[in-house]
Symmetry: C2
Subunit: 258 residues, 2 copies
């Protein structure tokens, strides 16, 4: 058995998220169905992140076990020929047997995109949160550094989650602005359920003047979801990268077909 | 009668371009149908550019005559409430009676986006041309300045066009690169039919090594479509702005609803 890791890009608009479920199509199911057609056997695919319905990815990671002699590059080509147009395998490689996309991850980087203009967007509207009220980016920037470091982030975990611990370490949190488009970049060792969306919702409350930037440390320390802001909608969220302790791939592997 | 100018943004994926036609829905028809519902009379909408099927716009301009007392801002709100989600009026203003979106235009700015990676894109794939073979951006940049200035651009006009003259003046032409994403910005007083797409197709032939950068002046001077390259597909093209000699709008008008 060989352990194959793939990097996936997807437009999550028409999927019920990563994880298989009876209500409709998911990214995991699309991957597993394509793999079964190629390999002739049911193959379980493990994803690094259980992205929600409507959430996108430029760099989701997943892995699976194969008996096949197909090279990772041929597997990628075969998958891309079978996968729907809104899912693609960007990279494929063999990894050590003990590698697990979810548990081997060192950190994950998400981007959350806000379109801050009174008029609704027409282009790219599936990839951002249209926030029609004016946001004060400087206030939001002032509130952001309180998130950095190791904290109990229970204030930003959705009610139904069942995490063993709500302590996480955020290593990067910053706002990038470009006219009407604001992008929040956040990286952590792991995230609680809906954590990025709850943080973004809270920071927009800061940007609108409903919450003072100075209140952020107290909101975190209180560990009470009710003190934080709303949960931002899914379509603004994109999983950009999952980092591992693996050697760099030679770039040649990325210059083939499909 | 008042003359109203609107600035439109649209995702052209599901439209047969700007101009009304029997085969299916167009941006012009969507605008005219929404206006008829609001005003109660058929209203002809003139567009600055007849964008093709699948072409997008961040800044198309259009104008129409109204008898109504609705302010331009109220008209914008009413239009945005009725227009489909992939079309939006970004700005609306009253202009002098002699203003015509098409004939008053001083220049138009287009962007053409190429996704230059071997693997097909999943996100934003409706907004770019996937070009799987490696492009040499320096070669493309070397070939670009020959386009600047006043020339007969017949070499880049599609066969069925019926322009009175094929002389145009290009005031800006440059490549902006960002990893796999290449954006070509081009501004001219006006464009021939399919001109931007023919220029982009030709420059990708330069980028692949099929045409020498030094051949560009000769291709232009030859005024023969057969000497230039292929026509790039529509979905990479976006009309960014149409410039006029009109006073700046106070920015307050852009901060209302919808």
């Amino acid at each position: 058995m060989r352990n194959i890791k793939v990097t996936l890009e997807y437009d999550g608009t028409h999927y019920l998220g990563w994880q298989r479920q009876p209500q409709g199509m998911t990214i995991q199911q699309a991957m597993e169905e394509a793999l079964e057609k190629i390999l002739g056997v049911r193959t379980r695919v493990t994803g690094a992140s259980r992205t929600d319905a409507g959430v996108h990815a430029r760099g989701q990671s997943a892995n699976f076990q194969v008996e096949s002699d197909l090279t990772p590059e041929r597997l990628r080509g075969a998958l891309n020929a079978l996968l729907p147009r809104d899912i693609v395998v960007v990279e494929s490689r063999e990894v050590p047997p003990e590698f697990d996309s979810r548990f081997s991850a060192l950190s994950k980087l998400y981007h959350y995109t806000i379109w801050n203009r009174s008029v609704r967007p027409a282009m790219f509207r599936q990839f951002m949160w249209h926030f029609r009220w004016e946001l004060d980016l400087e206030r939001m920037r002032a509130a952001t550094p309180a998130l950095l470091g190791r904290h109990d982030f229970a204030a930003f975990e959705s009610a139904n989650a069942q995490s063993e611990t709500t302590v996480r370490t955020i290593t990067r949190a910053e706002w990038m602005g470009n006219g009407s488009q604001l992008i929040f970049a956040i990286e952590a060792d792991a995230f609680l359920y809906n954590m990025v969306r709850a943080i973004v919702g809270t920071l927009t409350d800061v940007g609108r003047g409903k919450i003072a930037p100075e209140a952020m440390p107290g909101i975190i320390a209180g560990a009470n979801r009710a003190n934080a802001g709303r949960t931002a909608p899914p379509q603004g969220l994109c999983l950009m990268e999952v980092r591992y302790d693996l050697p760099e791939l030679p770039s040649a592997t990325a210059t083939e077909e499909q």
